[in-house]
């Protein structure tokens, strides 16, 4: 795998110490490092269960049969190869910010995650949501696949209007097994609508991670007397004095974050706000041990 521009040597050195560790059991077609909800034939005992017709007779615990005259099967934890899907919001609003822009920061975080997942011998997929369209890269585990993803992330730019709930609904149709879903976005959408779109993933047991990327100037409005704020997505304008608006804006922003946090907590979804002025690896907290 060739490192893209997103993964700097320093970053790669740090990533060497990191491995992908999702919170929930994974479901994969190939045996791997991760705990699977399917009981398999690994060496780690899990439980007994009664023999049912069709079960492999070889898995019957004969010692138990000898003691209790019952056919009981020993079940073991099956280690499975898991998948990780990254949803990267590449709407125009993500283009905000300088050194780096939110989109660049999120792409770098996604690249790091893809690198870590790949090195954990897991599969990684990508849904790039931009300008109302979704660019879907199904999970894959090959180096070529990951290189392609890194290249895609590096080359992607933020543009257009994105409807994150719609993107989530679309992604739901694409995923057919449990995996880890990591959403990188600035979440400029209605929290309730967003979590409505996330609910199917929760029901499917998808390990959800929402990474709310925020530029410092979004937290504290820029300095200045009067600013014509132009919406990067809709180009609408709003003239406002940041000095007069700052307090009210902070409250609104806090309320917005609090709404996401509370809704995520209720559903067991990991939600974290990461500023672009913070180390990019903070985005992977909860995904790595």
């Amino acid at each position: 795998m060739s490192a893209s521009r997103l993964l700097t040597p320093a970053l790669l050195r740090e990533l060497e110490k990191v491995r992908f560790a999702p919170r929930t059991r994974v479901e994969g077609r190939h045996a791997g490092r991760h705990m699977s909800p399917a009981r398999g034939s690994s060496t780690e005992f899990r439980d007994y269960r009664a023999y049912a017709p069709g079960d492999d007779p070889g898995r019957v615990d004969w010692r138990v049969f000898a003691r209790s005259d019952r056919h009981v099967l020993r079940t073991y934890e099956q280690e499975s190869q898991t998948g990780c899907v990254i949803l990267l919001d590449a709407s125009a609003s993500m283009a905000f910010g300088e050194s780096p822009a939110k989109h660049r920061f999120a792409s770098q975080a996604a690249a790091c995650l893809a690198h870590v997942v790949h090195h954990s011998q897991d599969q990684v997929g990508l849904l790039l949501a931009r300008d109302g369209k979704q660019e879907w890269h199904p999970p894959g585990g090959s180096a070529r696949h990951v290189n392609h993803l890194l290249h895609t992330l590096d080359q992607s730019g933020a543009a257009g209007v994105t409807d994150l709930p719609a993107d989530l609904r679309h992604l739901n149709t694409l995923l057919n097994r449990r995996c880890t879903l990591v959403v990188f976005s600035d979440f400029y959408c209605d929290p309730a609508e967003c979590f409505t779109a996330l609910n199917p993933f929760v029901h499917q047991g998808v390990d959800l991670h929402l990474v709310h990327v925020l530029d410092p100037r979004e937290r504290d409005l820029p300095e200045g007397e009067l600013i014509a704020f132009r919406d990067l997505e809709t180009s609408e304008k709003l003239n406002a004095d940041p000095r007069e608006l700052r307090a009210a804006y902070r409250k609104v922003l806090d309320d917005h974050h609090r709404a996401f946090r509370e809704l995520a907590m209720r559903r067991g979804i990991a939600y974290r706000v990461v500023g672009t002025d913070q180390p990019v690896l903070r985005c992977l907290e909860g995904l790595t041990p």
Binding site: L226, L232, E233, R243, L245, R246, A248
Partner: protein, 663 residues
């Protein structure tokens, strides 16, 4: 109500009011464009913020606009008129008549100046503030209203000079007459018409109901009396009996009144001729006292009488003057031949200083007779009797079968019938209230005037209310009556014959007869005149070919003499005046002129007592000038502009500080 502008030329500046709005819009800094991820949260914050900020911005805009509006107003110099537009805007100028009270009460001093001086200054102020087109006149309210112009004129300076030159008079007067004259002068004049009455509005001399305000005329009152002047005055002076006889005691009765709110003691000096008596008068607050000073003068003649209080704040009314005429003796004539006439004659003989004469015919009645008693009068010689009464004679009549003319003159509906015998004899009584003439007997120390019995009586038939009853039979029939219109005419109904009555046998009889003779007789000296009245004397009282009038300083005053009267050419101030024979220099008559008693009350009146009937009240001439010239609004506008600027600064600073705190 209207608004006028002193500087209408600055009206084009009014659009400046829109300046703050333009500045407000233009002065806003051009915003720096900043691409922002999403306006979603910004708009939400902006909406929340706008609920607080937008009113603040509007407040600033309003304050700035109001500030500019006020500043423009300051330069336009608007004036506020509560009643009428500017005189200059009228087609005709105003017509203003100032009624200036110049009566004696206006001489009262309040502080450093008199009420009249203040009224004059206020009147001058009113006149000065009239425009050149306005017409004005001043009417001085005195005994006879004195109009400085025949009709309102444009020369206000002359009026102001005249007000300064002419002093307050020592006369009484009527504001009402002056007001009527003012109304008549304004009646047909075009343009706004206005009457301003400057007076002290003395109690008793002012009733708003008297002042009917004609349509189109504004009447304003400007009271110049700000405080009540504590004043004591001699308000009455009488001699009792009115026509005393030399050598007999008489009484000088003096009414003294206290117009202050505190009781005071004042010394009073009474002079009759060369005689001088002093008394102390204790005067209750707001009350009066009657001071009686007994006198007795041996000489006959006419003497000046004066009662004078010690000096106070208003000395003009401290003295009151009169005259008393003392005759050497009283000459009485009795006409009639019956027993009653004889009893009268005996009574006259019993009285000292009285000479009684029996007349066989009325034609013998002389001018020198003072009293005439007629018993059984049939009406003959009515003219003589009438003339006698008119020249001041005292008449007692026991009517007989008189003519209708005589009965009418006596106030009887018909002649009394024949005397009837009363069985049993009737007693008499004094009617209630007790007649003044019989006041000597009121306390009973001198017996009862009704003592005795009457057994022969001719009932009188008096006209209703034509007489005052003095004695009545017990049954109520009148025995002794006094004519109300001619107080020196008395009617007697009972026979005084010893066979018919026991009245003349009573000890009280001579006293009663004497009381009647001396107290009922009218004074022959003319009553004192009020200052301001035209001194009018019948020609017959001044028996000289060339009478002349001499004032207290000995100056001869002009007279208007015609066939029947002699009158002074103008009103006279208080004092003793003397008519003398220009040829011989002898005194013909002494006349007293007094300040009208109504001028002595110097207490003030509340506004509620003055206003009413369309009359409006002013406190100063400047109030009127303000009404007329409008109230300048620029000081108010300047103050408002200052306030608005202050509020704007406060609002701006608060906005900045709250922003800083949040930042």
């Amino acid at each position: 109500m209207s608004i006028g502008l002193d500087n209408p030329g600055l009206l084009p500046l009014v659009p400046l009011v829109a300046g703050p709005l333009l500045l407000h819009l233009m002065a806003r800094p051009r915003p720096r464009l900043l691409a922002y991820p999403s306006l979603m949260l910004l708009e939400r914050a902006h909406r929340n913020n706008a609920r607080i900020k937008r009113p603040h911005h509007w407040l600033l805009l309003i304050l700035r606009t109001l500030w500019v509006a006020c500043m423009v107003g300051v330069f336009l110099q608007p004036r506020y008129f509560t009643e009428r537009p500017l005189a200059g805007l009228e087609e005709h100028g105003r017509n203003v008549v100032v009624v200036l009270d110049a009566t004696a009460s206006m001489r009262a001093g309040e502080g450093a100046q008199s009420r009249y001086a203040r009224a004059g200054a206020e009147a001058a102020d009113i006149l000065r503030h009239l425009s050149a087109r306005d017409r004005a006149n001043v009417i001085r309210a005195r005994a006879l209203p004195e109009s400085l112009y025949a009709e309102p004129g444009v020369n206000k300076s002359h009026l102001i000079d005249e007000i300064r030159r002419l002093p307050a008079t020592l006369e009484g007067g009527s504001l009402h007459e002056a007001y009527l004259l003012a109304v008549s002068q304004l009646r047909d004049l075009p343009g706004p018409r206005e009457i301003v009455i400057l007076s002290d509005f003395q109690p008793g001399g002012w009733d708003p109901a008297d002042f009917q305000v004609p349509e189109g005329v504004t009447v304003r009152l400007l009271p110049v009396a700000t405080e009540s002047v504590p004043n004591q005055a001699v308000t009455g002076l009488r001699v009792y009996p009115p026509a005393p006889v030399a050598g007999q005691p008489f009484t000088v009765e003096v009414d003294v009144r206290n117009f202050s709110a505190a009781p005071v003691r004042r010394s009073l000096v009474v002079r009759v001729g060369e005689r001088r008596e002093q008394r102390s008068a204790d005067l209750p607050a707001g009350g009066s006292a009657l001071i009686t000073v007994p006198m007795e003068i041996e000489d006959s003649g006419t003497f000046p009488v004066a009662a004078e209080l010690e000096a106070d704040a208003f000395p003009a009314d401290n003295i009151r003057r009169g005259t008393v005429s003392l005759q050497a003796s009283l000459r009485a004539a009795v006409y009639g031949s019956d027993d009653t006439a004889r009893v009268w004659l005996r009574g006259l003989d019993a009285l000292p200083g009285v000479t009684g004469t029996h007349l066989t015919r009325l034609q013998d009645l002389a001018d020198t007779h003072d009293v005439l008693l007629i018993s059984g009068w049939d009406g003959a010689g009515l003219e003589l009797v009438t003339a006698f009464v008119e020249r001041g004679g005292l008449l007692m009549v026991r009517p007989g079968n008189a003519t209708a003319a005589a009965n009418a003159w006596l106030g009887l509906r018909a002649s009394p019938g024949a005397s009837a015998r009363l069985e049993p004899a009737r007693s008499l009584r004094v009617p209630e209230p007790w007649p003044d003439l019989l006041s000597l007997f009121a306390d009973g120390r001198y017996g009862s005037p009704a003592r005795g019995l009457v057994s022969r009586f001719a009932a009188l038939s008096p006209e209703p209310d034509a007489h005052e009853p003095l004695l009545l039979l017990e049954s109520g029939e009148p025995v002794w009556l006094r004519h109300r219109e001619r107080p020196s005419v008395f009617l007697w109904a009972a026979s005084l014959s010893p066979e018919d009555s026991t009245l003349s046998a009573q000890v009280e009889w001579v006293s009663l007869f004497g009381e009647w003779l001396f107290r009922a007789r009218p004074s022959r000296v003319p009553a004192p005149a009020d200052s301001g009245d035209v001194l009018l004397t019948p020609r017959g009282q001044l028996p000289a070919a060339r009478p002349e009038l001499v004032d207290p300083q000995g100056e001869t005053l002009p007279l208007r003499v015609d066939e029947n009267t002699v009158r002074a050419a103008g009103p006279l101030p208080p004092g003793f005046y003397r008519y003398r024979n220009a040829d011989s220099g002898g005194t013909l008559q002494v006349r007293a002129v007094n300040l009208p008693a109504a001028e002595s009350d110097l207490t003030t009146r509340g506004p509620e007592e003055l206003e009413g009937g369309g009359l409006s009240l002013l406190s100063r001439a400047t109030d009127l000038n303000t009404l007329r010239e409008g109230r300048p609004l620029w000081p108010l506008l300047a103050a408002l502009a200052f306030l608005f600027a202050l509020f704007e600064q406060i609002a701006t600073i608060r906005s900045a500080s709250s922003r800083a705190v949040r930042t």
